[in-house]
């Protein structure tokens, strides 16, 4: 499991619960003609496959040739990670050393949320809406 149980669960929740549902909603909302999208697919197939193969085999060559050194502190650290869970250790780092970055990522998420709402918001004519100011000061 690569000692990353927390990340495994978070990835599952975020990708299945948030990103996949977001994509599904957008695909549902857009009425796309799929036949049009398939055009020119075969034109780009040779070039795409060629570039893909070149990069793939290049990477494999690099991995085969390179030597990955094992960690020097492995035995000492393994005993520590056996005592405490992965989530505990991750929180220990995330809320101390990387606290500012953690907060910054929260701000980025907030900005993304505000931006997404602002982009997709539109005022439509002829829709009855609640005007709270008027409602309160009604005679």
């Amino acid at each position: 499991m690569l000692n990353a149980e927390f990340l495994a669960m978070i990835l599952l929740i975020v990708y299945v619960g948030a990103v996949a549902v977001l994509f599904l909603f957008v695909v549902m909302m857009l009425d796309i003609n799929t036949n049009q999208l398939r055009q020119n697919f075969l034109n780009y197939l040779p070039l795409g496959l060629f570039i893909g193969c070149v990069i793939f085999f290049e990477f494999i060559l690099i991995i085969k040739k390179s030597k990955i050194l094992p960690s020097a502190f492995k035995e000492q650290q393994v005993s520590q990670s056996e005592i405490m869970s992965n989530t505990y250790l991750l929180g220990n780092i995330l809320y101390t050393d990387y606290f500012l970055l953690f907060q910054l990522s929260g701000i980025i998420l907030l900005i993304a949320m505000v931006g997404a709402i602002l982009l997709t918001l539109r005022k439509r004519e002829g829709v009855k809406k609640q005007n709270i100011y008027k409602q309160i000061f009604r005679e």
């Binding site: 000692n3 990340l7 197939l45 570039i51 990477f59 494999i60 991750l90 982009l119």
Partner: protein, 102 residues
């Protein structure tokens, strides 16, 4: 038995190449382009976690955490942009994005 790190790297490369071929082959659909970019992000995350385990250093996992945040934000904003693009042009073809040329 412990799995050697090279296998994780091969998996990561395979996912990266799938994402890259997705970007190259698909000249029409913006949503598939976004999905391919997500795949590339994920392949880099696999690398980070694999090396984090190899060197017993949790910083790699923290980095994946931040990558995840950025990916989620990017997907949300990207899909919102696709949505308003569809509202204006009534299509999501990449060829139709030429406002600046006109």
């Amino acid at each position: 038995m412990e799995i050697p790190i090279t296998y994780y790297l091969y998996l990561s490369i395979t996912i990266f190449t799938i994402g890259l071929i997705g970007v190259f082959l698909n000249r029409k659909n913006l949503i598939i382009l976004l999905m391919s970019i997500e795949l590339i992000f994920l392949s880099s995350s696999i690398n980070f976690v694999a090396f984090s385990n190899l060197y017993q250093d949790l910083v790699g996992q923290v980095f994946v955490f931040f990558i995840l945040t950025i990916t989620a934000a990017e997907a949300a904003v990207g899909l919102a942009i696709i949505l308003i693009f569809f509202r204006i042009k009534d299509s999501i073809h990449i060829d139709d994005i030429n406002f600046l040329k006109e």
